[in-house]
Amino acid sequence: MEIISQVFQEISPADFFYRNREIAGFANPARAIFSAIRELVENSFDATEPLGILPDIYIRLSSNNEGEEGEKIYVLRVRDNGSGIPADYIPLAFCQFLFSSKYRLKQSRGTFGLGGTMAILYGQITTNKPVKVISSTGSQKIYEYTLMIDIERNRPIILDRKIYENDARWHGTIVELSLEGDYAKAMPKVLEYLKQTAIANPYANITFVDPRGRLYKFERAVSNLPPPPKETLPHPHGVDVETLSRIIRVTRCKTLLDFMQEHFHRVGRHTAKRFLDFAGFPEDADPKKLKPEEVVKLVQAMKNFNGFFPPDASCLSPLGEEILRAGILKELEPEFVAVTQRKPSAYSGHPFIVEVGIAYGGKVPPAEDVLLYRFANKIPLVYDESGDVCWRIIKSINWRKYGLMPGMPVAILIHICSTKIPWKTVGKEMIADRPEVSREILNGVREVARKLGTYLSRKERIKREKARISFFVKYLPKIAEFSAKLAGKEKIPNIEDLLRRARRFEES
């Protein structure tokens, strides 16, 4: 008996993400508005900051039928002063899935390389309108494309292309797309997102004009940028079989000793020798001739060898303590602030840095719980707080140990930057609980909490010292007075000498 079998079919990546658009944050009209703004703003940041440009980002969301409730058609326009995109790449960069500038080993805001294209796809399937992209790299020309996505083939369709003179040598990118959405519902999260973005990126100018014509301006407070990330080699601790196989396929090294030094992060001659000895491979073995089991053995050895240097931060772009402090002071105006940048660390070979700030008093509202601001690669996370590892850690800490009681005005800012943020979901809102990462977060939080604890206890100690001296002055005369009365004596004992001695004793 032969059974009629299933029908098989291949689909394109664009089709896959079209069918599963909710997984990238386009689950409903309110969320779609939020996600579209966020994805385009992140693209703008990535087109400016890493290239040394102070970001100027202008966002406009407009609608012809504002005032009615519920879902309607919006036009979203985002303009930046970034590096621009070379004309030939524009159609692919915006209208083809899995084509991006972000598939590299350095920190960038978007890590799936889907965001912008996903927003355009969502706009297309809800409005059937093309997207307009205007860009220049600062050359003599400005290019304007009118594009749609061929979803079944995962290819851009170029509907129109115009070229303008660029006398002013403007550089940047403008994206304008139509989409169905529900701004009334999305508004609180959109504004929270922009406000927190301004905290973590105090070197940016951000302007937002909303569909009701209201203007939100977040102005630049510092004019130095964080150090831009550099592309880096993979760290041996983070290498899996697939990565190693790919490197073997392309290497020109003839010996494992060269191979280790050439292709891995922070591996010098000495380290390579010690490692190969540990792993039990001859130094002169030809990497191309490794058998599959030997590749596995080499990967295992890389994971287990403790002698590698930890990854350095050059591929990362943390805020730095100065900018973090500036952002906190600007926004929260606290009585006390402490910040820390943890040493670079790595999970599964992905380097990351945790930065933590604490703020006490000032504009921080007193609350039962500590107020938590979460950032990943400088992006604020405004959804799903309670599923985040940061939240779990904050809740697990015994704050009393640091002299903090419920009801005190304390805010914690946690920023994790990495070449690969360990997201819990594709929605990029919750950080997963990786032991290496949560250890750094915990230690960072403890470090700033200790500083705050020290501040609070010093404040307390000064108060107490003043009280001590006043105690002698107050109570010794009382003891003299009443003991004299009890003893039936007329004369109260002379305690001047004792008081003088007590004071001296106190001061020593």
């Binding site: 107050k474 109570y475 003891i479 003991s483 009365k485 009890l486 039936g488 004992p493 004792l498």
Partner: protein, 362 residues
């Protein structure tokens, strides 16, 4: 230890002398240019022992030292000296005061207490140092209990000195306050004391003429008895030689009311004149719930927890305590004194009381 038969006037004179000596010790140290200190028995939990001889909790040999050179001790020492001064005035002028009054009075002398707990604690310190009770220096609590029965007393307080009163003169019961606490016992025909936890039953006993039928002085405890009442019961026992029977609810709390009268509380381990070691807990026992088929409630978690605590308590070593605790545990029930009402209002007096007194060898 002070003699039991000290008269009120002698007692007062002795208390005043102790207070004056306490003051003089401090005065003397200051005069010699020394930051003064005070040494007294420790009241911490590791210095409280159950004394099988005294049959009550008592303090061990551990002493603590409060020194004015220690910043944390300055304030308590000042409070203590003031307190000694204040109660000296009180006792000398034969006036009484409540714990609450003392707390407020301190403010006039600019030695305020943070709260009443603090001032109560200093009074306890003074008791410990002097070895006498706060009632000795005329500080009384708010709670009022009462007594009824054929006992003639003679007042010692101002304006009533020499006046006599028979304690059957007011059938609602005579309040045990400062005047009665300090009165002398003149004459009685009673041959026992019956102490009762609840007011309703106290009235019932009076109405049923228990004082006549059983030749008893009846004492109303009002729950956990105030110290002045415990002292009063002790005097009835020691000065008049009357046996004491205590009736409480049948639950761990009622049992403990009786125990505190008999062997004192850990809180009052520093004073030695509040207990009546020969008093007997006469009921209601756990075993009565079974044998009298009394209406009962299930023990609650907190009751059971309390029973386990009592099991470990050295005061509860002997009988009837062990037997009754075990019965409670077994039947998991408790009941109140009023539960006898299910057999009619007079049943407790007509049947239960004579039987129980007989059981106890009366």
């Amino acid at each position: 230890m002070r003699r039991v038969s000290l008269t009120a006037k002698e007692k007062r004179r002795e208390v005043l002398a102790k207070l004056e000596k306490f003051g003089y010790d401090l005065y003397d140290q200051l005069e010699r240019g020394i930051l003064p200190d005070i040494i007294m028995p420790s009241r911490s939990i590791d210095n409280i022992y159950y004394s099988p001889e005294l049959r009550q909790y008592t303090l061990g040999d551990k002493k603590i030292r409060r020194s004015a050179s220690n910043i944390r001790h300055l304030r308590p020492i000042a409070q203590l000296v003031w307190m000694a001064y204040f109660v000296h005035e009180l006792t000398a002028s034969q006036k009484t005061s409540t714990l609450r009054d003392v707390f407020y009075s301190a403010q006039a002398y600019d030695i305020p207490f943070k709260n009443q707990d603090e001032s109560d604690d200093i009074i306890t310190d003074l008791e410990t140092i002097l070895g006498c009770t706060r009632e000795d220096f005329n500080v009384f609590p708010e709670e009022r209990s009462a007594v009824f029965g054929d006992l003639t007393i003679e007042y010692t307080i101002p304006n009533y000195e020499g006046k006599r009163l028979n304690l059957t003169s007011h059938p609602d019961g005579v309040m045990i306050g400062p005047a009665l606490t300090s009165a002398e016992f003149i004459e009685t025909n009673a041959d026992k004391v019956i102490a009762i936890e609840k007011g309703g039953l106290f009235t019932r006993f009076i109405e049923e003429r228990v004082h006549e039928r059983f030749k008893a002085i009846l004492v109303f405890l009002g729950g956990q008895a105030p110290r002045s009442t415990r002292y009063f019961i002790r005097r009835l026992n020691q000065e008049l030689g009357l046996p004491v029977y205590v009736f409480t609810d049948a639950d761990p709390w009622g049992m403990h009311i009786a125990m505190v009268i008999i062997s004192g509380s850990a809180n009052a381990a520093h004073v030695k004149e509040l207990t009546t070691p020969d008093a007997k807990w006469a009921g209601v026992w756990a075993s009565d719930i079974v044998s009298y088929k009394l209406p009962s409630d299930k023990l609650e978690d907190i009751d059971v927890k309390r029973l386990h605590e009592l099991l470990r308590d050295p005061r509860y070593k002997g009988e009837p305590w062990q037997r009754e605790i075990n019965t409670f545990m077994r039947i998991q029930k408790k009941c109140e004194l009023e539960a006898f009402s299910r057999y009619g209002l007079t049943h407790i007096v007509d049947k239960y009381l004579p039987q129980r007194l007989k059981d106890l060898g009366e």
